[in-house]
């Protein structure tokens, strides 16, 4: 039927088709092997990549803990504010929405510029912030006009509110948005990328940041290729930060701030048994609320340029020569060393000669014969020169150290300074010079190298007032209050003598703070004034008569200080007031301290005493 040539080519064709089938089976095997490789061998890798593709983990902001004062008054709370955001894809004409928005709430050029920038860079479904910090009223107004504002959403936003404003800003602190520097410091913390995340900056907001901040919620969402959230896969709600109750009494805090008025300085009031700080004021102050939002440059400059340094918490950060307040320490040292006895009188001629140098008393022609109590009462300088000369620097330093000079307190606030308790060894290493008797004499009246913070002075006075017990100061109200119980090792009689001297300063005619004495149903205050020079008085000036304080420029005037405790019979509270460049302590700081102490005693009458001495 068929010719041989036909058989021949069919034979070839069949052979070639078989070869083709072989090639195809091989190719199919290659495909299946490749499939096996991608899906089984490398499957895990691709599964992870797919998972990474489709999921986005977003953190949700936790609510920060509330800060209360000791009576439950809110010092820092969370306040709901509203912000308007625009989602462009929801409207055909977002420009119309923007124009209508501006008819209701005007926008400034800076904002318009920012919005234009965001519109350019963000995808259509990403919300663009139009305006934040809207009041409830404004938000309601926008809601009412919703039909003209297609694509506009009102979002709730939590901000921090400080009801006391400037009155407690240093101690409570503030929270603020992150700077680029914060981001650099902790680049792996995803919380920092969250819009609206704020961290504590100073005061308690900073030192208790970890307890206040809470735990962020985690929201795992499924996203599509364009980055849009499709649904929530998992959600862990954020947990609120811990509420903190402070030992601060907001009423006193307000009172003290108001009483300080225009003066720059610090006030510390504390419970001498528990170490609880009732008041910590530094003036001038600033409104904490200003810092929770980006600060306008003008406001910032005003704060920075103020020579009275509003940002500084002078109570813990200000270092002052304690001046005559330090005489309490020297008196105690003299008594402890046995050089001074209650009856022993020392003569003050108005100056003390050391080699060819004269050390002057503040009273030109001297105090004549004085007991230790009288020396404190009049704040005689020569008396303490004499004591210091006799007992030596080491004894003074030892007592000062026991009372906490040169040592940080337990408040744990950032920015706290240690002050400086100088020593021969310190002088040798820092000034390459030997300690001289002149240094000892300067130290004895709280001048020279010695510096201390108001909080340290307050601790020293409180430890004298409580009978020489070691005090741990605190700002945080704790249910199990640790009452001071460990003695610092002073003789009770010696402590009493120093306290008597402080009593006389206020309550005996001629005392440096006699003007500010008060008697609230038998409750009196005992204290010690101090005026410390911030400039050297030259020999020439001393001869021609020391220039009156109010004739000097503000920054050359003496610092006025007053340290006190009350009531004398049953001491409970200690106070330190520092008025920078206030002139004399008796004229500037003492009246303020007296007023504040009276307020303290009014608020805490003895029958409702927070802690009675056993």
């Amino acid at each position: 039927m068929s010719t041989p040539w036909k058989y021949e080519r069919i034979r070839i064709l069949n052979k070639r088709v078989l070869a083709l089938i072989g090639i195809f089976v091989l190719l199919i095997s290659v495909l299946i092997f490749r499939l096996f490789y991608l899906q089984i061998i490398e499957g895990d890798k691709y599964r992870q990549l797919a998972e990474k593709n489709r999921t986005a983990i977003r953190l949700t902001l936790p609510t920060r803990g509330v800060i209360y004062d000791r009576n439950g008054v809110r010092l820092a709370e969370n306040h709901k504010k509203f912000q308007a955001v625009l989602i462009r894809e929801e409207t055909k004409n977002y420009q119309r929405t923007l124009d209508n928005f501006r008819k209701i709430i005007p926008l400034d050029d800076e904002e318009i510029h920012r919005i234009a920038k965001e519109i350019k860079h963000k995808r259509a479904f990403m919300p663009i912030r139009i305006k934040d910090n809207l009041t409830f009223k404004e938000a309601a107004l926008l809601q009412m006009n919703a039909t003209d504002l297609i694509g506009l959403h009102i979002e709730e936003e939590t901000t921090r509110l400080y009801p006391l404003k400037a009155d407690a800003s240093h101690v409570v602190g503030y929270v603020s948005l992150l700077s680029d520097k914060d981001m650099e410091q902790d680049p792996d913390n995803p919380l920092l990328d969250l819009p609206g995340y704020r961290i504590g900056r100073i005061g308690i907001e900073e030192s208790l940041q970890d307890r206040l901040k809470g735990k962020p919620g985690i929201r795992k969402t499924e996203i599509n290729a364009y980055g849009r959230s499709v649904r929530i896969l998992e959600e862990e709600k954020p947990s609120k930060g811990e509420n903190i109750t402070l030992t601060i009494d907001s009423r006193l805090q307000k009172f003290a701030t108001k009483r300080m008025g225009e003066d720059a300085g610090a006030v510390v009031v504390l419970d001498i048994y528990t170490g609880e700080i009732l008041t910590m004021v530094s003036t001038p102050s600033f409104d904490s609320n200003v810092f929770t939002m980006p600060i306008p440059t003008k406001v910032w400059r005003n704060i920075i340029d103020n020579e009275k340094k509003p940002l500084q918490n002078k109570a813990i950060n200000g270092m002052y020569s304690p001046g005559s307040i330090f005489k309490l320490v020297v008196a105690l040292a003299g008594l402890e060393s046995g050089y001074i006895t209650p009856q022993r009188k020392i003569f003050c001629s108005g100056r003390l000669q050391l080699g060819n140098q004269y050390f002057h008393c503040w009273k030109r022609y001297g105090h004549e014969h004085l007991t230790i109590e009288e020396a404190l009462m009049y704040s005689c300088d020569v008396y303490f020169y004499q004591v210091a000369q006799e007992i030596g620097v080491e004894k003074i330093l030892e007592v000062a150290q026991r009372l906490g000079f040169g040592e940080e307190t337990s408040l744990m606030l950032t920015g706290e300074k240690n002050g400086l308790l100088p020593s021969p060894l310190w002088k040798k290493s820092h000034h390459k010079d030997n300690w001289r008797m002149g240094d000892t004499l300067n130290l004895s009246i709280g001048q020279g190298f010695l510096t201390a913070t108001p909080i340290q002075m307050a601790r020293a006075v409180a430890q004298i007032a409580n009978g020489g017990k070691k005090l741990n100061m605190t700002l945080i109200k704790d249910s199990n209050i640790q009452r001071a119980s460990a003695y610092l090792g002073f003789n009770q009689k010696h402590i009493q003598i120093v306290k008597n001297g402080m009593d006389m300063v206020v309550n005996k005619k001629g005392g440096t703070a006699y003007k500010v004495q008060f008697d609230m149903n038998g409750q009196k205050m005992a204290g010690k004034t101090a005026s410390t020079q911030v400039r050297r008085i030259s020999m020439k000036e001393r001869h021609s008569g020391v220039i009156s304080q109010d004739k000097l420029p503000w920054k050359y005037r003496d610092h006025g200080m007053f340290a006190a405790f009350a009531p004398i019979a049953k001491p409970r509270f200690a106070i330190v007031v520092v008025v920078e460049h206030g002139g004399g302590g008796s004229s500037s700081a003492a009246p303020i301290a007296s007023d504040i102490m009276q307020e303290v005693l009014r608020l805490y009458p003895s029958e409702n005493s927070i802690k009675k001495d056993k």
Binding site: M1, S2, T3, W5, K6, E8, R9, I10, I12, L13, N14, R16, V17, A19, L20, I21, F24, V25, L27, I28, V30, L31, I32, R34, L35, F36, L38, Q39, I40, E42, G43, K45, Y46, R47, L49, A50, E51, N53, R54, E222, I223, N224, A225, Y226, V230
Partner: protein, 387 residues
């Protein structure tokens, strides 16, 4: 008796009755093809996140239409196809020229011709037309003819003409498929292997020259194919995401409609060329390997039909069409797996698209026609010869 009946058919096969044709139709083969189509419709349903719209329902309508075409084509006498093979080829060429002159541009290439009622892609039609023409050409050639170079010039030109027109569109994938299909036909009809080697060596020598003729996007595709990780957000995005989609399926897959890559649109145009990855993601290695095996069975069935066919024209036609189908499979799957550059070849019977489905069914109709007329003896000029 039955032998006699067979014999009778053999002698008078040009007079096969309609009933005979229905009887001789290969239903197993049709069943295999339809199952792949149904798998495809299921994946399209899933790719649209569980909706018949916009792809699955329309694909089903196209399937019905194509099925009609298949049945019609298979019932046409094989000799008629041989008789008009060159005419069909000529029409294909004219359509390609029409595309070059009047075609409309889509996705950067001029491939479609609007005929008023249908958007025709002549390059798809050309695949069938060229195979038909070549089958006819070799029907009457002897081995010595085939071994002579002059004799091979016309079929070579038959291939080169449409390939050049398609390259101008430009459509590298289809052009390559035509070249490979022609090569396979040359191979089975008996062209010596050394000639293939010479061509292969010559072409590789010309690659630098060819490179300069490629469009930038084609160059980009080849470069991206060589190293997709280089440009993960740009041109490499497709290949990377394709591999992720595929690989993340694992052994058993994420389950029907549970794909994440596809549902969340990480793969653009997943319903067309990258549909295989959706199947792989949802049904894993088992699912995708099964589909590949199904394809292999269809391919082997095509070769089986060529073995069963008596006429040389039918044999070559069945082989050519089967190779064409196999090329779709290899190129598409190789492409989504990152074995080949992205050249825009759909997954046959599965990818969403009308012309490809129609052309494939036309091809299967021709194979069915070959099977129905398997015992027919066709003379040199297409007539019944009593040799």
């Amino acid at each position: 008796m039955s032998f006699f009946k067979e014999r009778n058919c053999y002698l008078k096969n040009y007079n096969l009755s309609f009933i005979d044709k229905i009887k001789r139709f290969n239903y197993k083969y049709l069943f295999l093809i339809c199952s792949v189509v149904f798998i495809g419709i299921g994946i399209l349903y899933s790719a649209a996140n569980g909706h018949w719209q916009p792809w699955a329902s329309r694909q089903f309508l196209r399937f019905l239409l194509s099925l009609g075409v298949l049945i019609f084509v298979s019932f046409v006498n094989l000799r008629i196809w041989m008789k008009y093979a060159y005419w069909i080829y000529g029409i294909g060429i004219l359509l390609l020229i029409g595309v070059a002159l009047f075609g409309h541009v889509g996705m950067g290439a001029q491939r479609w011709l609007n005929l008023g009622f249908i958007n025709l892609q002549p390059s798809e039609v050309m695949k069938i037309a060229l195979i038909l023409a070549l089958s006819k050409y070799f029907h009457s050639s002897s081995l010595s003819d085939i071994h002579s170079i002059q004799y091979m010039i016309p079929p070579a030109l038959m291939m080169i003409l449409p390939v050049s027109l398609i390259l101008m569109q430009p459509d590298l994938g289809t052009a390559l498929m035509l070249v490979f299909a022609t090569g396979a036909i040359f191979f089975v009809v008996g062209v010596q292997v050394w000639k293939f080697l010479i061509v292969l060596i010559t072409v590789s020598g010309c690659i630098p020259i060819l490179w300069s003729f490629l469009h930038d996007y084609q160059k980009q595709r080849v470069l991206t194919f060589l190293n997709p990780e280089n440009d993960p957000l740009g041109a490499g995005y497709h290949i990377m995401q394709s591999k992720i989609t595929l690989g993340s399926g694992g052994l058993f897959g994420k389950g029907f409609m549970e794909s994440t890559q596809s549902r969340l649109n990480f793969l653009p145009e997943k319903q067309t060329d990258f549909i295989f990855t959706v199947l792989s993601e949802e049904f894993g290695f088992f699912g995708s390997a099964s589909l590949i095996c199904l394809y292999l069975i269809i391919i082997l069935y095509g070769f089986y039909i060529s073995f069963r066919c008596n006429s040389f024209f039918g044999k070559v036609l069945a082989i050519g069409l089967t190779v064409n189908f196999a090329l779709y499979v290899f190129i598409n799957i190789g492409m989504v797996m990152g074995l080949l550059p992205v050249v825009g070849v759909p997954l046959p019977l599965v990818s969403y698209g009308g012309t490809a489905m129609m052309t494939l069914f036309l091809g299967f109709g021709l194979i069915q026609s070959v099977y129905i007329n398997r015992d027919m003896v066709i003379g040199r000029r297409g007539s019944i010869e009593d040799e």
